[in-house]
């Protein structure tokens, strides 16, 4: 068990790095997912097709493959994902700015993959608004934009919160994969490093790593449960 104390800084560092990945990927996925959702519900068929195609491709492909594509495809496209070396951000999240692109590649993969699910969560929120709400708005004479702005979106947002939260939880768990794709020092790679390379006993390391992930996922899950219960009551 002493590994938990001796190597506390390693665990903490892994946790911190995983947290960084998750925060960045969550923000990226929310933005891209929102754009995709707009495409998917737009009245222009080709845009809708792009949104739908994107979602179908990325939802049905293992994240592992997406990661490989980021790691091999981006270089083939002539990119080291340098567009992510955003001036102020890279001082906050040091790995963003390093010459080593794997953190950025992993980030790109996580964002691309998660965005498909974010898009679906947002869309499910729009679908959850009863048709009667929009009909009532229309029969008052509200235009499409007004309907969206004053009636549909405020309500769909509420309906999206819980599914979005689940997507983020899933993303946190998925981030464990980046350790297997060249991102050194995140929680999952820490497990590998401590047991394989440094020969620490397996069980205590497993416990430490599990705690690291559960700290992130369980409270968020409990929060979502509460929100969902509250919403169910309000309904």
């Amino acid at each position: 068990m002493s590994v938990l104390i001796d190597k506390f800084d390693v665990f903490a560092g892994g946790f911190w790095l995983t947290l960084q990945i998750c925060v960045l990927a969550a923000v990226g996925a929310l933005i891209l997912g929102a754009v995709l959702a707009v495409l998917r519900i737009s009245p222009v068929p080709p845009l809708r097709a792009v949104g739908t195609g994107y979602v179908n491709i990325f939802r049905n492909m293992p994240l592992t493959v997406v990661m490989f594509f980021a790691a091999f495809g981006l270089p083939a496209l002539g990119s080291n994902a340098d567009f992510l070396r955003i001036p102020v951000l890279d001082s906050l999240f040091s790995r963003l700015g390093t010459d080593l692109p794997y953190f950025r590649f992993a980030l790109v993969a996580l964002v691309l993959y998660t965005a498909a699910f974010v898009c679906e969560a947002l869309r499910s929120g729009v679908n959850a608004v009863p048709a009667g709400q929009a009909e009532a708005a229309r029969s008052l004479g509200l235009t499409f934009g007004q309907n969206l702005r004053y009636v549909v979106l405020p309500q769909s947002w509420k309906a999206s919160v819980v599914p979005l939260g689940s997507v983020i939880i899933a993303m946190i768990k998925n981030s464990a994969l980046v350790g297997f794709f060249g991102v050194v020092g995140d929680l999952s790679q820490t497990a590998d490093q401590l047991t394989s390379a440094e020969g620490y006993a397996f069980v205590p390391v497993a416990i430490g790593i599990s705690i690291g992930y559960l700290i992130m996922t369980v409270p968020l899950g409990a929060l979502l449960d509460r929100i969902e219960k509250r919403q169910a009551v309000a309904r």
Partner: protein, 321 residues
Amino acid sequence: MSQQSVLYDVPGPRQRRLTLIGSVVATVLLLVAAYFLIYRPLDDKGQFSMELWGPLIDPSNENFSLVWDRIGLGFKNTLTAAALAIVSSLVVGTLLAVLRIQLKSLTRRRFTGLATPLAYLLRGLSALLSAVTRVCVEVFRGLPVVITIFFVARGFPEFGVSFDTLWYLVIGLTIYNSVVIAEILRSGMEGLPGGQAEAAAAIGLSPAQTTRMILLPQAFRIMLPALISQLVVVLKDTSLGFIISYEETLNIGKQIIGVLDNPIQVYVVIAVMFIVVNYALSKLAQYVQRRLSRGRKTAGTPAQNPPPAALSAQAEGTGGA
């Protein structure tokens, strides 16, 4: 179409014209962007050369049949692992769901017919058991599948139990997915109109009979789409086998790349295989969903609750890797 009708009126002539113009402009822009951002750079790096693609798409290539034999083997292994994992997850998940529902009704019982100490003992025991299952569910649901698989593959031998890598993968996937399936089924049962359980109680069925004959079959039916989506997740997650050297599609793909040195081409082929299979599965899920809800619409009964949003999203979103 359904969400279309929420947001949009049926378009009039002007709206149709605008849509048409927008479509043309968008198509042109998309094609131009695809050409300059994707096609050109790839072509410049020779990624479309037959040297790289030949072994995968040209039957006359000397390596074609070897490569596809290997990919076929990998795909067979992927399907084997997925099938075993989904079946065992269903079995374990159903048991877990029933256990949790039974424990819940057990903790509410007061065992008034029994002697007081015995009644307290039984009540304490059922409360304890229900807390333990709850914690297990939370822990296994909160851990990444990769980590679970990794732990299984590293942990089991540690305790002197070793299997083929296939079984590590299956066990790892089962631990995670059975918990998810249990939650899907449980919320399916709890999401049924309360009247179903009440009607069963009112004709004198016991809680166990009610669960078995009334709630579980209906939960399965309602949750069928979510369960099929979970199959997609399992299929995707088998690709995590590569971290424990299980020879599933992706791992074999890596071996092929080691020889032929054409990563992008091999991953494109593998991605297409996954997408086709999983897309077909999700279409199946949608079809089942539509059939179920059509059956429901004609019903005079009040609409059954849809699966809780969190759960269905979770089921899909977890799509591990």
